[in-house]
């Protein structure tokens, strides 16, 4: 250990011994004999107390760099304010002319835009063109929401659809019924509830924030759905590894070809590029031969196919996982996506859900682990084909399933939209802008909560154990984490989501690095009782004569004073 007290002791002994010897020598030379002892003892005691003890204290103290403890204790009672920029645009025909006249422009930041409502395609299925044209009207920044309110009787949206959320940050809201005699305030307050619902779907709702803060705030009242959601999405981490594996249990019958590089480049990479501000992603792939599922599928006569029931799916993953392997160099969480092609004797293989119905995607996933898809190839060749059969896997279909599972794993998918809402599917872009915003909001809050917990518990630990050495690099990491946290909170308040996420990411990286520094194991440092055991054999023999002689001097002085008084009396 660096701060072993033994090496320093030998150095600190010298200031005790040498001046004492010098002074005693001087006393012996100069003073008469009777006073010699007295002054020698006093001088020695003076040197010990004035020079020795401070020197010993200084040389044996552990190096503890300064930490901003006051700011850290402020972080403990963190208060977050999140602000979202919302733009509400009323299209022509929504408001009567009187209500329009009374629009207090100072109150609400409103822009008059003429929305082209004569696009017939919107009758059946809202197309992306309307969404694009709406997007052109106002380029919305990261984190903001634009809501276009259309008249109640408008035919843009189908009958039962109340809100249509596009791929960018826009939503079409059908105006709730209101009387033309109402003044503007009543109209706006009536609209408030609807706008709130839209914004909570597109940005964040109460449950989302509570789930993001679950690190700090133990969720007491949670719905089962939100619990399931919070368990499914993977925790915030600086990087993720995504592994695609092709399992071929029967290479004698099937010779499988999959263009995984191209598929990843076309379908998965756009999503990962969009998610680049959140984390680093690394993608790899492998092919495993003779890898079997742990469960025997049962033959179902009614469909003349093999089936896997939903209950047996839980036991499928474990035997495979032992063979999957992972990148030894990084400690990032891994998401595995497996494509299983059943062997020729057990084809076709279907997955049944709890109500015994066929699952159209033929895939299942496990939260925080990944997904498995079963791909049947028995229809691609006849019985007379020469074994092994060359099969090209349709990567678009496979990646469609994997992309959906990946979105669920990353927490991007909005699992329970409210009734009357239609969310446009992101398609090949992989991710809608508002979905990205949702993820950014919850990630920022989660990062801030985690980083502040880490820093406060680290400060507590360092405070409690007084003799842990705090190196400069730890102090620097802690300071940078604290400043990043403060900046992130300020940016969240201002509504700059992108900056807030960046600061929160820096904060969490710095706090993790400080917390998990290998030198902070308090086992490495001597507790106080062990220190006493080391120092007492060294110092006690020296201090005992000094103390005794001091006591003797004091008692002599008392006796002399008593004598003087007796004489004077």
């Amino acid at each position: 250990m660096d701060n072993s007290p033994k090496t320093e002791n030998s150095l600190t002994i010298y200031p005790f011994v040498v001046p004492n010897l010098l002074i005693s020598y001087c006393c012996i030379l100069v003073m008469p004999e009777k006073q010699r002892g007295r002054y020698a003892a006093l001088a020695i005691a003076a040197v010990v107390i004035v020079v020795g003890i401070p020197l010993w204290w200084k040389t044996t103290e552990t190096y503890r760099a300064w930490l901003p403890f006051s700011e850290i204790s402020e972080l403990d009672s963190l208060q977050l304010q999140l602000s979202v920029d919302i733009e509400v645009v009323f299209s022509r025909g929504t408001l009567t002319p009187e209500q329009q006249k009374k629009f207090p422009l100072s109150h609400v930041n409103e822009k008059e835009h003429q929305v082209d409502v004569s696009i017939p395609e919107l009758l059946t299925s809202p197309s992306t063109e309307a969404d694009l044209s709406l997007h052109m009207l106002s380029e919305s920044s990261c984190g903001s929401v634009v809501v276009y309110v259309i008249p109640e009787s408008s035919t843009l949206l189908p009958e039962d659809v109340k809100v249509y959320v596009g791929q960018r940050r826009t939503a079409l809201l059908r105006s709730p019924p209101f009387k033309t005699s109402w003044n503007l305030k009543e109209v706006l307050s009536n609209l408030d509830v609807e706008v709130e619902q839209v914004v909570s779907t597109m940005s964040f709702g109460h449950q989302d924030i509570v789930a993001a803060l679950s690190n700090r705030v133990r969720m007491t009242k949670v719905t089962k759905e939100s619990m399931a959601d919070s368990m499914r999405a993977i925790k915030s981490s600086p990087g993720y590894e995504i592994t695609f594996s092709l399992l071929n249990p029967d290479p004698k019958s099937h010779s499988l070809h999959w263009d995984i590089e191209g598929a990843v480049q076309s379908y998965i990479q756009p999503l990962l590029n969009k998610l680049a501000p959140i984390a680093n992603f690394s993608v790899d792939s492998q092919i495993l031969y003779y890898a079997v599922l742990g469960v025997n599928p049962r033959f179902d006569n009614s469909v003349s196919a093999y089936t896997l029931s939903a209950d047996s799916l839980s036991h499928v993953i474990n035997p495979v996982e032992a063979r999957l392997g992972s990148n030894a160099a990084s400690s990032n969480p891994v998401l595995n996506f497996l494509l299983y092609v059943p062997d020729a004797h057990h084809s076709p293989l279907f997955i049944r859900d709890h109500s015994k119905r066929k699952v159209p995607s033929n895939a299942f996933h496990s939260p925080r682990w990944g997904g498995i898809m079963v791909y049947n190839v028995n229809e691609m060749y006849g019985p007379e084909a020469e074994r092994p059969v060359d099969i090209n896997i349709n990567m678009a279909k496979v990646m469609g399933v994997f992309l959906a599972q990946l979105r669920l794993m990353l927490g991007v998918q909005h699992t329970h939209p409210p009734t009357g809402f239609v969310l446009q599917s992101p398609g090949s872009a992989g991710l809608a802008d508002w979905e990205l915003d949702r993820l950014l909001w919850s990630r920022s809050v989660e990062n801030i909560a985690t980083a502040s917990t880490t820093i406060t518990s680290l400060a507590q630990l360092l405070d409690q154990i007084g003799n842990i050495v705090i190196n400069d690099n730890i102090a620097q990491q802690v300071s940078s984490a604290v400043t990043s946290l403060q900046s992130a909170v300020a940016e969240l308040e201002a509504g700059n989501l992108a900056f807030a996420l960046q600061y929160s990411r820096e904060a969490i990286l710095a706090s993790e690095r400080a917390f998990f520094d290998p030198s902070l194991l308090h086992l490495l440092y001597f507790p106080d009782d062990q220190k006493f055991a080391i120092y007492i054999p060294l110092f006690l023999p020296m201090c005992v004569p000094i103390v005794l002689s001091l006591l003797k001097i004091v008692s002599e002085a008392k006796k002399r004073r008593a004598d003087k008084q007796a004489k004077s009396d």
């Binding site: 399931a228 496990s366 992309l403």
Partner: protein, 382 residues
């Protein structure tokens, strides 16, 4: 709470999620399953702390728990196995490459695929605490780390020689119960576990869990303070005691458990009563939030995954682009390499498909073919 108050200021937060009808039943059952245990993955840290040949039984204890845990589904990547000494290849082992747990050499717990992460002198108090708290040097490989998250259930099993309030490591150092409790608190602060089951099989084992103060901990020990844990049976062929009583009966109990079993913790508490164990096993559940009767054995010893059916898929219409060719690859001529032709063994010897058959039969066949190969080579060279 502060957060809730502030967020309601913004007034978009009161959201009532209404679930579409078609989903409700499905989500109910699935969420019900999730809700019961709250974990998504399992980890195990199995530590044997004693060295020397006469402590064979501690290594056998740890390996038998390792074997059960692997059989019930936890993969090697999620197990941190620390063995302080190597019994299988010890010079005094009359049957090398084996570690037996039942006398008459009935069960070899040192199978073909034991993966020991910390071995020999690497098993120290410092390394153990580093694994638990995560404060490992950056060069540590993945297999030596405990990469658990806030939804991991961790099983920690310690065995060796212990006393009142301490456990001896390698006959030279010890870990105290306070240090262990502090390490668990550090883990809780960083949310490195969802629930933790702590089993210790040493003398006076109950003293090791007295000082725990972090939530979600359940502890079992083989003996109370003041009692000794005893070993089970000696094997006259090997010459040492093979297992400790508590772990022997624990292993027998776990052999009955399979991945789908519904045995719960109350059954585990009944393992090895005093009549069998001589010492009184103890347990501590006051820090645990769920009722032990509702906790399944497989929540800690196995790895039963929560599974959901993928309902939605994304319709991808754009065609697959060819992968971007890295520039300069056409300049470098890579010679394609091939393997030298092997002996046409399949033509010489009829070999059965070994996939479903008995592995020993397969091995014997392979040994036979190896011998015959040697003869063939000799013939050819001659």
């Amino acid at each position: 709470m502060n957060y809730c108050n502030l967020i309601t200021i913004f007034a978009f937060i009161n959201l009532l999620v209404s679930i579409p009808h078609g989903y409700s039943n499905y989500v109910e059952t699935k969420a019900g399953q999730f809700f019961s245990s709250g974990h998504t993955n399992n980890w195990a840290v199995l530590v044997c702390t004693s060295r020397f040949w006469f402590n064979y039984r501690h290594v056998a204890n740890t390996l038998s728990v390792y074997r059960s845990v692997k059989r019930l589904g936890i993969p090697d990547s999620h197990i941190v196995l620390m063995l302080a000494d190597d019994m299988a290849c010890n010079y005094r082992n009359p049957k090398p490459a084996t570690v037996f747990s039942h006398k008459n050499m009935e069960l070899n717990v040192y199978g073909d695929d034991v993966e020991v992460d910390y071995r020999g002198y690497e098993v120290t108090v410092e390394n153990f605490l580093r694994v638990l708290t995560g404060r490992l040097p950056p060069s540590t490989p993945r297999s030596k780390r405990l990469l658990s998250d806030d939804r991991s259930n961790i099983l920690i099993y310690l065995t060796g020689h212990g006393g009142n309030g301490f456990l001896k490591f390698q006959d030279s150092e010890e870990i105290s119960n306070m240090e262990l409790a502090d390490a668990f608190e550090q883990m809780w602060q960083k949310r490195r576990y969802n629930e933790l089951l702590f089993i210790i099989d040493t003398c006076q084992g109950a003293s090791m869990y007295e000082r725990f103060y972090s939530p979600n901990l359940m502890a079992l020990a083989s003996s109370q303070v003041g009692e000794d844990s005893l070993s089970h049976q000696p094997d006259l062929g090997i010459g040492v005691h093979l297992m400790d009583k508590y772990t022997f009966y624990l292993l027998e109990f776990l052999e009955e458990v399979h991945p789908a079993s519904q045995a719960n913790m109350n059954d585990l508490f009944k393992v090895c009563p005093q009549s069998q164990c001589v010492s009184t096993p103890g347990h501590r559940t006051d820090l645990f939030q769920r009722d032990p009767g509702s906790v399944l054995i497989t929540d800690f010893f196995g790895s039963v995954r929560k599974v959901e059916i993928t309902k939605d898929t994304i319709n991808l219409t754009s065609p697959v682009e060819p992968p971007i060719k890295r520039s300069g690859s056409s300049d470098i001529q890579i010679e394609s390499l091939t393997y030298v032709d092997q002996l046409p063994v399949a033509e010489i010897i009829h070999q059965q498909d070994c996939l479903e058959a008995n592995v020993t039969r397969c091995r014997r066949k392979q040994q036979r073919t190896r011998k015959l190969n040697c003869q063939v080579v000799e013939k050819q060279t001659a």
